[in-house]
């Protein structure tokens, strides 16, 4: 199997060393070098063409996000996945980076588990990417969604508890064809309106219920949920 080359851009030697060790623990990853400055990083990216860059935002001669911008802007540069590492009080940087589209964002101090998770995600995606040629970001996004939604169907997603879901399912099963608004469901079950909306949307997205928009009274539309015969039991 190919080794995945990783460049570590980090000005603190100790932290860089730690990253490097974490990488070595996974057989697939190969830390090809440590760049301590932006200048060094530029050179090493050109020479080694790494697959992943662990990019610390704080560098002595600039910021990681600027380097990332350069990488995006420079068409001649080797396209590479960037994992941006920032201090926890630099969320604004992350906000900017999100718009640019980093592979992942890590907050300092980087925990061992979290970095492992990132690397594993890369491996999964990399495998999937091998399957299709020239995946675009949009398709990658969809790929992500497929994974997420697959997971949803296997087990209940976070925020959806089986007890509450069962309560709601029961209410609808007893009232087939009856149109429920959030208010009505709240009266029936005693859950909060916010929670009710979450479950109802979950159910309608998964075919358990049908959601319909009613424009009955002028200016006061409503969204109703109804269980019909063709919905999943």
């Amino acid at each position: 199997m190919d080794k995945i080359d990783v460049l570590i851009v980090e000005d603190d030697a100790k932290i860089a060393q730690t990253h490097s060790e974490i990488l070595r623990q996974t057989a697939r990853f190969n830390p090809i070098g440590i760049a301590e400055t932006m200048q060094m990083a530029r050179t090493m990216i050109k020479i080694h063409k790494p697959n992943i860059i662990l990019l610390d935002n704080y560098l002595p001669d600039g910021t990681g996000i600027d380097l990332f911008r350069e990488l995006i802007a420079d068409k001649s540069m080797h396209k590479t996945n960037v994992v941006l590492i920032t201090a926890s009080d630099e969320i604004d940087t992350v906000k900017t980076a999100m718009k640019l589209g980093c592979f992942d964002y890590l907050l300092k101090p980087v925990s061992y588990e979290r970095l492992q998770e990132t690397l594993n995600r890369y491996l999964t995606l990399n495998t999937a990417m091998k399957a299709y040629d020239n995946l675009q970001q949009r398709q990658i996004d969809e790929l992500f969604n497929i994974q997420l939604r697959d997971k949803h169907q296997q087990s209940l997603p976070k925020g959806i508890e089986s007890i509450t879901l069962d309560t709601i399912k029961r209410v609808f099963s007893q009232n087939i064809g009856v149109r429920f608004t959030v208010e009505k469901l709240v009266l029936e079950t005693g859950i909060s309106k916010t929670t009710a909306r979450r479950y109802l949307e979950y159910c309608s997205a998964n075919g358990l219920l049908s959601a319909e928009n009613e424009y009955g009274k002028v200016g006061r539309p409503e969204r109703v949920y109804v269980k019909r015969g063709d919905n999943i039991e």
Partner: protein
């Protein structure tokens, strides 16, 4: 201020110019009149002198007296004639130019002076001449005297001295000079009054000052970031600056606009012409082409009479950005103080734990704060696949932390690229406004813990957004009105500004709808539903 090289004020210059011009004209006129008068008098007097000279020369008595050399009789008859005539002198000379009769007796027998006898004595001509004689400078009529055989035997010279002229000219000129003097005085007053009038029209400013003011006005207009428009009472443009043109999308320049009315360019011109017309309007919002502008109106008066208004405006977001920035500086300072305090506490705890060799707890403590943020980051990154929306949610989460509000993203949040009439920016505007609105609502009543719940999901066919706050909620009678543009009057509708109006607009544009509901036990819920299954988009 302006150059001190010209000490004369503009008014004085105008005055001197007008006055000088009139004086010059009058001088030319008087000179011309004077010289014409002089010429005409000279001609008349000359003719008179000549005729008299001819009459006297043709008298047979005179011829006889000369032939007989009867000087005393001659002198007597000439004296008699002199008394009748108004001439200054009558002189008779013989054929050699020797005086036979003269007003001054002593000069009889001496040659005539002036040297102008030749024409009469030698050629027998009659003429006038202007010469200096023994009696002074004068005009003379000369005529030869013939005997019966037609021989020239002498000359008659009738003369008028010039000092006589002056008397006549004086007689003619006096009324004229009086008239001229009165015209002169009138001109003085008129020039003074006119220059004052001009100066008043120019607001008592010198031309240099006016030029300066004009340049100043131009540069002020172009340098301010605000849009500025001046209109007259009917709404016609008086002036407009670059920013205003940009904000309102007007491309024509002011020379064209001067004949145009503001209502041709601004559909919502209510703020321009609101009663009472003379009142100033401060910091008011108005909608223009889907952007909100904050406008001020100041009335322009000209001596208590309203002549128009100046309207200044700028984008609402500009002002908001500024106020936000200011309030954030304050907040940053506070946050820093709190952080420093927390930090030293935490260091003390860590050092204590290390001394007690409870290393696992140290590890836990260090990663505690961090993991919650990392989790938020991971959650947004993994669930929200629209970078702008992800950034917005992240930003709002941080803002919430600063405001001490807990912003809870519903665990079922998820968002993929849109498949709707709505674009990402509009979605951001909707979310941002709803969340800001929730923050505002909560901050108005601080009771207990402030919580804002946000749900955004495109799992089903519709895009669903729900923002819930536990603020004071909305009075039932207001619920129907919050979407309408109740924004122009900020004071009594502070809670629902233009944000909600925009939300409503965007949502309706995308064929969706918004509903608002009260949450239990308190607060309100905004729910947005937008079709997200457009084919081919």
């Amino acid at each position: 201020m302006y150059s001190s090289s010209s000490k004369l004020t503009f008014r004085l210059k105008i005055f001197l110019l007008l006055f000088g011009l009139v004086i010059l004209q009058m001088s030319v006129m008087v000179w011309h009149f004077d010289s014409t008068l002089y010429k005409s008098i000279k001609h008349q007097v000359g003719t008179r002198a000549l005729i008299q000279a001819k009459e006297i020369a043709s008298g047979p008595a005179l011829v006889e007296q000369i032939q007989n050399n009867d000087l005393s009789t001659l002198q007597a008859s000439i004296d008699r004639l002199s008394k009748i005539s108004d001439a200054s002198f009558i002189v008779i000379g013989d054929k050699n130019g020797i005086r036979l009769a003269h007003p001054v007796k002593e000069r009889i027998g001496l040659p005539m002076e002036g040297g102008d006898n030749a024409g009469a004595l030698e050629n027998g001509e009659s003429y006038t001449s202007l010469r200096e004689g023994s009696l002074g400078y004068g005009i003379r009529g000369k005529s030869p005297i013939y005997d019966n055989n037609h021989n020239i035997i002498g000359v008659v010279s009738v003369g008028y001295l010039l000092n006589r002229f002056d008397q006549w000219i004086e007689v003619y000129m006096t009324p004229l000079l009086i008239e001229i003097l009165s015209v002169f005085i009138l001109t003085l007053f008129a020039a003074w009054g006119f220059s004052r009038h001009i100066q008043n029209k120019m607001n008592n400013m010198e031309p240099e000052e006016i030029a300066l003011a004009l340049n100043l006005q131009k540069s002020i207009l172009s340098s301010v970031y605000e849009g500025l428009i001046a209109i007259d009472r009917r709404g016609y443009f008086l002036n407009i600056n670059h920013s205003a043109r940009q904000l309102l999308g007007i491309e024509q320049d002011i020379t064209y606009l001067k004949s145009r009315n503001i209502i041709e360019f601004v559909e919502n011109s209510e703020i321009f012409f609101r009663d009472p017309l003379a009142d100033n309007i401060k910091d008011e919002m108005f909608l223009f082409k889907e952007q909100y502008l904050i406008a001020n109106r100041v009335a322009i008066f000209k001596q208590k009479e309203l002549i128009g208004w100046v309207i200044s405006f700028r984008e609402k977001s500009d002002i908001e950005a500024l106020t936000n920035e200011l309030s954030q500086v304050q907040q940053h300072t506070d946050t820093l103080r709190v952080l420093r305090h927390e930090f030293s506490n935490r260091l003390a705890t860590i050092s204590g734990l290390i001394q007690m060799q409870r290393f696992d707890e140290v590890q836990q403590l260090i990663s505690q704060e961090n993991t919650s943020k990392q989790k938020l980051l991971d959650f947004i990154h993994q669930q929200i696949h629209l970078p702008q929306v992800a950034g917005l949610l992240l930003g709002k989460s941080l803002r919430a932390k600063e405001l001490n509000i807990s912003l809870i993203l519903d665990p079922t949040c998820q968002l993929s690229p849109l498949n709707s009439l709505l674009n990402e920016t509009e979605l951001c505007a909707i979310m941002g406004n709803l969340i800001d609105n929730a923050f505002d609502a909560i901050q108005r009543s601080r009771e207990g813990k402030a919580i804002v719940n946000v749900l955004i999901t495109d799992a089903g066919e519709d895009l669903v957004i729900e923002v819930t706050d536990n603020g004071p909620g909305i009075a039932p009678d207001l619920i129907d009105d919050i979407w309408t543009k109740g924004v122009t009057n900020k004071a009594d509708n502070q809670n629902h500004g233009i944000g909600l109006y925009l939300v409503h607009r965007y949502v309706t544009h995308a064929n969706g709808f918004v509903i608002v509901d009260n949450a239990e036990p308190q607060g309100c819920i905004f729910s947005v539903f937008i079709p997200n299954n457009c084919k081919g988009k």
